[in-house]
C-alpha cells in the first residue's frame, strides 16, 4: 500500500491529444501482434470449420463461433490503435492502410469460416457430397485418440516436432467435453486426448500409427 496512497502529483494541464499509455512503440507492437494473431486464427478457423462439417460436430462449430468473436474484437482493437498511431505520427498512412486492409481480409476469412460452420450449427442437411469433397481435397482431415505409447504425449508440441515428423498439424484437441484449438508450441498432449489433424493424404497413415501405437 504505497504507490496508490502517494499523493497525486500536482495537476499540470496535459496536452489534449497525447495519451501516455500505451507508449509509442508498444502501440505499434500491439498492432503487429494483433495482425499476426488474426492471420493465424483465421486460417485455423477455416480448417476447423471444414472439420466441423466433416464430423458433423456442433462442438467444433461452436469453437469456430467463439474464435470468430475473438477475431472481431481483435479487428476493432487493431483499427482503433492503427488510427491512433497515425494521429500521433507513430505510423505512416501507407503502412496503416496496408495493415487495415490485411486485417480486414483476415476478418473476412474468419467470417467465411463461420459461414461454413453455420451449416452445422443450423442443422442444414448435409449432403454426403460435402463430406466427400473435404475428404477428396488436397488436405485431408483425420481424428484419433492418442494412446499411452504415442511418442508425442507428455512433451510439448515444439519438443516432439510432431508437425515436422508426421507432416500433419493438430488443429483441435478434446480433453474432457470440449474441443479446443489454438495450441502453441508449449502445448503438451496427453494420452487419451482426442485430436483432429490436417495434412496431406500420404501423411495420414503414418500419423495414425504414431498416434496410437500398439502397446509393448
Amino acid at each position: 500500500m504505497t504507490d496508490r496512497d502517494a499523493p497525486d502529483p500536482p495537476p499540470t494541464a496535459p496536452p489534449p491529444a497525447a495519451p501516455s499509455t500505451p507508449t509509442e512503440r508498444a502501440r505499434v507492437d500491439r498492432v503487429e501482434e494483433l495482425l499476426l494473431e488474426m492471420k493465424d486464427t483465421s486460417e485455423l478457423m477455416v480448417d476447423l470449420a471444414y472439420s466441423a462439417v466433416f464430423y458433423d460436430s456442433k462442438s467444433i462449430a461452436r469453437e469456430v463461433q467463439e474464435l470468430e468473436e475473438d477475431v472481431g474484437e481483435h479487428l476493432t482493437e487493431l483499427q482503433r490503435l492503427t488510427l491512433e498511431a497515425v494521429r500521433d505520427g507513430q505510423l505512416d498512412i501507407g503502412h496503416a492502410l496496408v495493415l487495415l486492409r490485411v486485417a480486414q481480409g483476415a476478418e473476412q476469412i474468419a467470417d467465411s469460416a463461420l459461414e461454413i460452420a453455420d451449416v452445422v450449427l443450423r442443422d442444414v442437411e448435409l449432403h454426403p457430397i460435402i463430406r466427400e469433397s473435404i475428404r477428396e481435397s488436397d488436405t485431408t482431415i483425420t481424428k484419433t485418440t492418442l494412446g499411452p505409447a504415442c511418442p508425442f504425449v507428455g512433451r510439448s508440441l515444439r519438443e516432439s516436432e510432431l508437425e515436422t515428423e508426421t507432416g500433419m498439424r493438430i488443429i483441435a484437441v478434446k480433453r474432457g467435453r470440449k474441443w479446443e484449438s489454438g495450441m502453441d508450441g508449449d502445448y503438451v498432449l496427453q494420452a487419451g486426448d482426442q485430436v483432429i489433424a490436417t495434412g496431406p493424404w500420404d501423411a495420414e497413415k503414418g500419423f495414425l500409427e504414431m498416434a496410437a501405437p500398439p502397446e509393448a
Binding site: E32, D92, V98, H127, I129, D138, E163, P200, G206
Partner: protein, 207 residues
C-alpha cells in the same frame, strides 16, 4: 501516394461444362486454401507474379461457382433435394468468400513499394513460414517428384509453387518433378525448411 489497383476482369460468356458437383466443390475448397497461402506469400515476399496468379485463380473460382449453380439447379427434383443443395451452395459460397478476401488483400500490391517490407517482417513471424529454396545442380532432389520424396510427410513443408526459368507452376501435385535451378516456394515450419535445405545441398542423407 497510394494508387488503388483497379481490377477489371474481362467479361466472358460462360459455357456450361458437365463437371460433377463433387469435382467442383473439391476444387473450390482447394483453391480457396491455395489462394489464401499465395496471397500471404505475395505480401511477405513482395512478389507481384504470385499476386497476379491469385487474380487468375479468382477468375477460375468465379467460373467454378457458376458451374456449380448450373449443375446443382439441374439436379434438383424436389424440396428435400433443394434443402440439401442449399447446404452445398452455402459451403461453396463460403469458399468463394475466402478466395475474395485473399485477393482483396492484394489490392494494395501496386501501391508504393516502400510500404511493403514491414509487412513481411510482421507476417513472417506466423507459425507457418514462407520460404523459397533453390535446388542446386547435382542435388539429391534433382529429378525426384514431390510425391516420391514424400516432402510433406517427411518435412511438414507444403510446396505452394515451383519456378522454372520465368515460369511458375502453382500447387504442384505429387507427380511434379524437381529440376536443378528450380526455385521452390514452400510453406511450413522453420525446422522442416532448414532440414530440407540441408538435404537439397547434400549435407544430410535422410530427408
Amino acid at each position: 501516394m497510394i494508387r488503388w489497383k483497379k481490377r477489371t476482369a474481362p467479361y466472358q460468356e460462360v459455357e456450361y461444362e458437365p463437371l460433377t458437383v463433387l469435382e467442383i466443390l473439391t476444387e473450390m475448397k482447394d483453391l480457396s486454401e491455395l489462394m489464401t497461402s499465395l496471397a500471404y506469400s505475395a505480401l511477405i515476399l513482395e512478389n507481384d507474379p504470385i499476386g497476379e496468379e491469385v487474380e487468375d485463380l479468382a477468375r477460375r473460382m468465379d467460373w467454378l461457382k457458376y458451374q456449380l449453380r448450373l449443375t446443382a439447379s439441374l439436379s434438383v427434383r424436389n424440396k428435400e433435394e433443394a434443402e440439401q443443395v442449399a447446404g452445398i451452395l452455402q459451403v461453396a459460397d463460403a469458399s468463394e468468400h475466402i478466395a475474395n478476401a485473399a485477393s482483396g488483400m492484394l489490392d494494395l500490391m501496386d501501391a508504393n513499394i516502400t510500404l511493403r517490407p514491414f509487412l513481411g517482417r510482421v507476417l513472417d513471424e506466423a507459425d507457418d513460414r514462407i520460404t523459397t529454396l533453390k535446388v542446386p545442380a547435382g542435388s539429391p532432389g534433382e529429378g525426384r517428384t514431390l510425391g516420391d520424396m514424400r516432402l510433406e510427410s517427411e518435412t511438414g513443408l507444403r510446396c505452394l509453387a515451383m519456378r522454372r526459368g520465368a515460369r511458375w507452376i502453382y500447387d504442384p501435385g505429387p507427380d511434379a518433378r524437381v529440376a536443378a535451378d528450380d526455385t521452390l516456394l514452400l510453406r511450413g515450419q522453420q525446422e522442416g525448411a532448414s532440414h530440407f535445405k540441408a538435404w537439397l545441398k547434400g549435407e544430410v542423407d535422410e530427408l
